[in-house]
């Protein structure tokens, strides 16, 4: 008999421990099926949540060896093969307050979701009495974002949230904001974007954990990017995030490549960069990371344009204006 072991993180409100449960290998089981089997055959005190058991209600996200999965939608065989082991560590999803065992608290997450200003504020030409009009193409633009089942997987391993959740929101909150920001029925998509700019939109680290973990193949990072683009296009170019991105774009068009020497002052402003980065710059020069002369030259005269810069500029302008 092949035995599978789940080492499950337990918590009873005061005490935390890890408990091992062994059960017979069964190729038909999902991770959720395994948890139910443990609860009903071994330990009724084990707590977890599950509802629809077919990947649409979002209840049953847990971590397997530190990575969020939707338990009902993940076959036991799949994770056993992924990790090449018959013992798996099961824990509650990350970046959530734990209530008990694998059960997490959604109360404050819902309050944070309110900051996306959810709910459509439709254009003036539409009404509750006659509904809205929308083209199939415009519906397609928001369809993916609406697949969100609020399972929390995208937040579980988000590097930014793990470090500090007070100046950043769960990726699903940004996705929620973006589904209204991009909706052709919205009177003003920027209502949602502006709020997200205030709440960490430019602080995403691009770590791609949200994109990787979403069981519905939504890309919250792309939603963050789409709202950054909207904010930028609407003239919200102040702040280090937008200025940093703008510096890349400017260099791309001017010479084809990034000018790293100019990047810092452009992002932070000359004064801030000069005062705040003094030690950093000194170290760079001291260790020969950057030649002083070379730096001065780059700062004053920029990179030499790449071969074929005219073609590159034509392509960029075509995309920006020419279509």
């Amino acid at each position: 008999m092949r035995t599978i072991t789940f080492d499950i993180d337990r918590f009873d409100g005061t005490r935390s421990w890890t408990q091992s449960y062994a059960f017979e290998y069964d190729p038909t089981l999902t991770v959720l099926g395994s948890l139910i089997r443990i609860k009903e055959q071994q330990d009724p005190s084990l707590n977890f949540t599950a509802s629809c058991r077919c990947a649409i209600c979002g209840s049953c996200a847990v971590r397997v060896n530190g990575n969020a999965v939707l338990a009902c939608d993940t076959r036991l065989d799949t994770v056993l093969k992924q990790w090449g082991a018959d013992t798996l560590h099961i824990s509650p999803i990350g970046n959530f307050k734990v209530i008990s065992d694998l059960v997490v608290d959604w109360g404050d997450k819902i309050e944070r979701l309110r900051s996306a200003k959810p709910g459509l504020k439709a254009k003036k030409e539409f009404s509750a009495d006659s509904g809205c009009q929308q083209s199939p193409a415009d519906f397609a633009k928001i369809q993916k974002q609406w697949d969100c089942i609020l399972c929390g997987s995208c937040a579980s391993e988000c590097n930014k949230l793990t470090d500090n959740d007070r100046d950043f929101l769960e990726p699903f909150v940004y996705t929620h904001a973006n589904r209204y920001a991009q909706d052709s029925r919205s009177a003003d998509g920027m209502v949602h974007v502006k709020e997200m700019v205030k709440q960490g939109l430019w602080k995403c680290l691009h770590c791609m954990e949200c994109v990787t973990k979403c069981p519905k193949q939504i890309a919250p990072a792309a939603d963050i990017a789409a709202m950054r683009a909207m904010a930028f296009a609407a003239g919200n170019t102040d702040g280090k995030g937008p200025r940093h991105a703008e510096a890349f774009r400017t260099d791309l068009e001017n010479t084809g490549r990034l000018n790293e020497v100019r990047l810092v002052p452009r992002t932070e402003g000359l004064i801030d960069a000069a005062t705040g980065r003094m030690g950093f710059t000194y170290r760079m020069l001291k260790h020969g990371k950057l030649g002083a002369l070379e730096a001065a030259e780059l700062y004053l005269t920029d990179n030499k344009p790449i071969e074929g810069i005219d073609g590159l500029r034509k392509i960029i302008r075509y995309e920006r204006d020419g279509k």
């Binding site: 009873d12 038909t28 999902t30 330990d43 009724p44 005190s45 707590n47 949540t49 599950a50 509802s51 629809c52 058991r53 077919c54 990947a55 649409i56 209600c57 979002g58 209840s59 076959r75 065989d77 209530i99 008990s100 065992d101 059960v103 608290d105 109360g107 819902i110 309050e111 309110r114 900051s115 959810p118 709910g119 459509l120 439709a122 539409f126 509750a128 009495d129 509904g131 009009q133 929308q134 199939p136 519906f139 928001i142 609406w146 697949d147 969100c148 089942i149 609020l150 500090n164 007070r166 100046d167 589904r179 029925r185 709440q199 960490g200 602080k203 702040g239 280090k240 402003g269 801030d272």
Partner: protein, 622 residues
Amino acid sequence: MSEDNKDDTSSLSRRTFIGACAAVPLTGAVADLAMASTADGTQGAAASSGAPSTMSFDVLVVGSGGSGLRAAVYAMRAGNLSVAVVSKTMPTRSATCMAEGGINGVISYPGQKDSLDSHAFDTVKGSDYLGDQDCIDFFVEKASEAVRETDFWGTPYSRAKDGRIDQRFMAGHQFPRTNYSADKTGHALLHSNFDYALGAGVKFLIDYQLLDVGVEDGVCTGVVMRNLKTGEIVPVRARAVIMATGGYTRIFWTRTSTPFIATGDGTAAALRAGLPFKDPEMIQFHPTGVAHGGVLITEAARGEGGYLLNNKGERFMQRYAPGKMELAPRDITARAIETEIAEGRGFGEGMTAYVLIDLRHLGREKIIERLPQIRHVGLMFENIDLIDQPLPIRSTAHYSMGGIDVINFHTMETAMPGLFACGECGCESIHGANRLGGNSLAAAMVTGKEAGIAAAAYAAKAQMPDDKALQRLADQWRDHFRENTARTKGTPFTEIRDRMAQVLWDGMGIYRTEKGLAATVEALRDLHAEYRTASIGNAGQVYNSAYTHYIEVGNLLTLARCAALAALDRRESRGAHTRVDYPKRNDKDYLHHNLVSLKGDELVLNQRPVTIVRFKPEERNY
């Protein structure tokens, strides 16, 4: 360093806090508040005297599915009322999100041939004439409004080329009138209503389980709940309570498509509070669910040309519907599958017996392109790839037509002042003996809205009830927890749950007989007695999900007993209720609703005539 180089540690939490306060204008606290002001600005008497305070709300919605969220939004819109939605899970885990097909509602556009009358007739006919026709007329008009309104609120609907909402055909309808959002309409509606509720400032009490409804002098005074996070049992006063707790098909446990949490808690609490349970025997079966667990295999599998096979490899539908074969209506297909199993041509035995659905002849490409979701369900639940192997399936309980007796479909009020019911847990009756595809989401939207409006109007005039009855009930429940969790011996209650499911599937499933139902009534009574001495296996306070489930199973047993009694008494076949011994509908004796009430531990059955307005009952043929 400029501002965004520092950790922004305060502003976000402050904003969130302010947002939450603004969301609850009269209550003025953020989470799990112990006290709430009321519409007229007074505070609970207990609080002002310094005694332990009782939570109170003007309108309390129990259940956070489609109808509950919509009720809450409409109660908020009345203005100046404290409104909360209480849910035993995070709000979006309900059955609503599982609905795929769409939401019915006639939409006018140039060249439209459909009409409200036509939708009403189809619904009446679909109900096998057990639906109340005045209610259905009201329903179809409001369903059309609901589709337009939810579009305006943000529901992402699939679109026709001209920009209007696209509509599809569903079985039993004369016209395409099912508005949809790809194959996730319920999910889209649930989440757009949730978003709208968040935007409107509806407060949510998450991880609270409903235990009972408080009644004083025949008036609803609120509910008793268990705070799952702490284990505390808390009385909650409310001027108006809206039940929106969904259906009870979980009585069949492993043979239902609905979520684990759909355990009829509100219906059972209403029953204990003295209200009748209307048409409890009317439960819809879907012909195809996976053998292990009952998750739906949608009609698309047969629509695309899948075969149903028995253990001899025969396409057995030849015997039952030689013309339509696998495309026969749901009820005929469901009965055919059960007959094959009963006559020994299925596989396996007991609750996990099955027949097969075979898609292999469609070819790999068509399966991947047209039926990816069905293939995925097969992989998850049976570890079977439909490209290579046929999949074990069997019929599965799908929808509860019966529910808390609603006596006024304009207001969704019950016979108890202050208690309203909407969605699958209420019975008005729109669906009668059989619900048409696409009418469940429509009913959730319509009944939720009307309940919200009426409950708010009622709450604005009603006094905040006192909490004496609630305190008494809360004490009883505290004893209940202590006594029942202290037991270390006895049958594990999950075993009783599984036996209940088996008894019901055999005796009150797709085929019903006098003998089988009589035995079911007896068996359920015994199981209910054994349940009271069963073991739970966890005495902890914090999120004791074993005890939560113990209460759920108790509710299911109560509701199942009502259903079996009504099914025994209905000696005819109508809609989803198929009596082998009475194969014909009998309008002379049974054109009535069954109303089951609880007196002590005994069940009492009464009847009420069906309202007929325009459509004279005739034979239901398609």
